[in-house]
Symmetry: C3
Subunit: 345 residues, 3 copies
């Protein structure tokens, strides 16, 4: 596919600075791009690359100033990474749209299947399930009874959606993720063993959610575990029963949110973070990797780190002193020596 | 289904306090229940809900005293949550019992299949495997050669049981869990690479164990990795080769137990905990979330937290001083100033 | 199978010390071996077991000296664990070599399939994929379009290899692992939601790599996520987009390497470790379990621990003082008391 700078500028509503007839056929990183690649420059830290890159076209910020000559054709855009991203999605997306129902898919007669769907080999869809128009289910997907999947949603190979759970429109769920497994709920019994608390609720995933590979979203004990619109979960994330993750919140890999906790909107949660159960996290909270959150965060838009977590500034201050602890101990020892001398005078 | 307070009291051996003909048809949380719901009150913290709830029936503790009028019919029980749990399991369990063998299941002729089993679509059962009476294997389950599954055990979709591994009676294993993958054992070779140490042992899971989704239980190098009776593992838990988890121990999500470690009975282990290899954890040990356990715990029934973990009380004490470290440093600086003055006198 | 000490010594190039006609039929741990077992002794800590073991043959270090009589036939070898490992692999490997293509496997006509492969039931191989000679794909494996798998590589049940991703020769990948899921890349949009950045790169796994169960290796945004020759990944490990893991590096369970980070050769990385994105880890770095690595490590062969990580020695020193913090606070209080007295003089 051959695409001109003019076509790209039109697509993303950008402005060409240079030869608008420049043609590219692929995309690449600025430091390794060739003449037939389009690339981008978003982080000013990498500005120097612009003078050396071989990329045919580079998308840059609206107001970036060059102090040396640049070989590439430039397209200016207020959000260059976002613009690049639209280009990739339009011309170079490796996940081609699939349609068709494989003859080996086992689909209950009572399931409702939309138009233009892709249902791959060995997919199993149980009684009363619903698959929206344009949904794509790769090989070995399992959809339990009365579960539903929205329009244009993609389930990669081996996703397991338990009965009665619902995933919205335009979602992406990666390989091996389990949605609707039982919440981890047990009641102690008189003999010291545990009785299972039946988990009679479900999971609701709203629209435009992306979920990584091998995640686990547990069904609620009663009611619903809820993943709100626009949430992005990385790989190996656990969401426990009755938790709720707010709109457009992002959670990185290997993190876990315990039962009944309500995470706000637009939060950014690092990797390997643990959030205890039955608390509330305010909108816009940012949490550093490996943090442990032991209690509710009520003020919005604050930053935390550490286990147990502290406000970011306090944590940095404590870390500096921590590193200097041997020095502090030395200073105390010196004081003890002087005092001893003073007392002997 | 319509159930009376009298029927429920009889089922759980409780005592009705109010109208024993009250009828419910569903179950709900006390704060959102409707008149046709049964609910429960176990944590005294939530006592206030009892005065506002619309629940038709509420199961409460034997000796709870109300100081305001209550609308709901009350059933008193020594362990109200456990009683509620029996009610859910008896009347409202969403996982209906399944039976029947799907025609697409591939079952070796040398496998032994019990009575009243459910074997779903695209299940694969290899040579010499054994499936107990009443077991339920959902779609895409894999059972390796000479592996066995006990009576009434449920494997949800996509569970993989490697060859020679054994799961007992009345177990539940959630989607995507792998039982019997090779232990992580390598020996350095003269050229700096690693040689694989063949893992010739297996995994034994005893009766009444529940294992969450996408867990990994590695087979032993030699001998067995053992999960004792009544153990409950949350999602994404790793149990390494030759580890042993004691009876009725509970391990929360994203935790790992390293090789050859022996965890005692009735332990309660939080989420994202790491326990190093080749140690012993005493019975009844309780470990806080995100803790790291670097050495054996010999005294039973103690509580630990932190990484590396300390006894709970010491950890809290250290955390308080940690938070006040800037203040301690300030006090030392003030002492240094005074000493300097004193010396100049 | 009956094997003599002489045969074993010849196989591993060791020296028999005792009766070279001793016969064994199985392998076992030194503390529980029977007379027909071969065992090994590598860690001097366990030397005492040599005097009590019932093992017919024990492989020990070249220069180990016994100060009491030993019953077993001894085979001396410079690396006894490695020698034992060769014995296990030669005689006792439970994963028998499989060949044959199951009639239920769905293989695209445009896929290229090598000789002597095993392709199990319900495996799906898409257009243009390549499977090397002697590769073994267990039940429910998925191989996406244009993906490739090298010679003698084993994929256990349910491994998912996305399109355009490549796994080399003599690799082992355990159940449920996903290779090639989309990197976690999103660009903020003007309305506060996130736009997906199409992940158009792939994953390349070189030769002789072992990957545990339920791992997640994300495809690159552009270019490749690379796992170099000889790498060993434990279970539940996440490798993010564009990361590179150097030759013969070992990473234990539940660890994560964030995007674009380059880990060196021969590193040893403990369990539950988190390494942030866009940094470099020097060759031979050793990282303790649960550590968090916030910035590049430039000096090779150093040891780190903690979150955020410090050099091992500093970390131990700080930990000792940390444990004694209440004591340090006490000393400062005592100084304050004395100073007060001195000033009153």
């Amino acid at each position: 596919m051959q695409i001109t700078a003019a076509e790209i500028a039109q697509l993303i509503n950008g402005v060409v600075d240079g030869d608008s007839s420049t043609i590219i056929t692929a995309a690449g990183k600025i430091e390794s791009a060739s003449q037939t690649d389009i690339s981008f420059l978003a982080n000013p830290k990498y500005l120097n690359h612009i003078y050396d890159t071989k990329a045919g076209i580079v998308i840059v910020g609206k107001d970036v100033v060059f102090d040396k000559p640049v070989q590439s054709t430039i397209i200016r855009h207020p959000m260059p990474y976002y613009g690049f991203c639209v280009v990739l999605d339009t011309y170079f997306n490796p996940h081609q749209n699939r349609t068709g129902i494989d003859s080996t898919a086992i689909i209950s007669e009572s399931a409702v299947i939309g138009k233009n769907v892709f249902i791959g080999p060995y997919v199993v869809i149980e009684d009363g399930a619903t698959i929206g128009d344009g949904a794509q289910l790769y090989a070995h997907v399992f959809v339990g009874s009365k579960a539903s999947i929205g329009q244009k949603t993609i389930f990669y190979s081996g996703v397991k959606l338990y009965s009665d759970c619902h995933v919205g429109n335009s979602c992406i769920v990666h390989a091996g993720t389990a949605i609707g497994s039982d919440g981890f709920g047990f009641a102690p019994t008189p003999d010291g063993s545990y009785a299972k608390i039946p988990q009679i609720g479900n999971v609701i995933v709203e629209d435009s959610v992306e979920i990584g590979a091998n995640c686990c979203l547990d069904r609620a004990t009663m009611g619903s575990t809820i993943i709100r619109k626009g949430v992005k979960l990385d790989n190996l994330v656990q969401i426990a029963h009755n938790a709720e993750i707010g709109e457009n919140t992002v959670i990185a890999g290997l993190s876990g949110v315990a039962g009944s906790t309500k995470v706000g909107k637009r939060c950014v949660i690092g990797a390997q973070v643990g959030i205890v159960g039955h608390i509330t996290i305010a909108d816009g909270t940012q949490i550093g990797g490996q943090s442990g959150i032991p209690k509710s965060i009520t003020e919005p838009n604050q930053q935390f780190t550490g286990s147990p977590a502290m406000p970011l500034k306090d944590a940095f201050k404590s870390q500096v002193i921590l590193r200097n602890l041997p020095n502090l101990e030395q200073r105390v020892r010196e004081l003890e020596r002087i005092i001893k001398e003073l007392k002997q005078l």
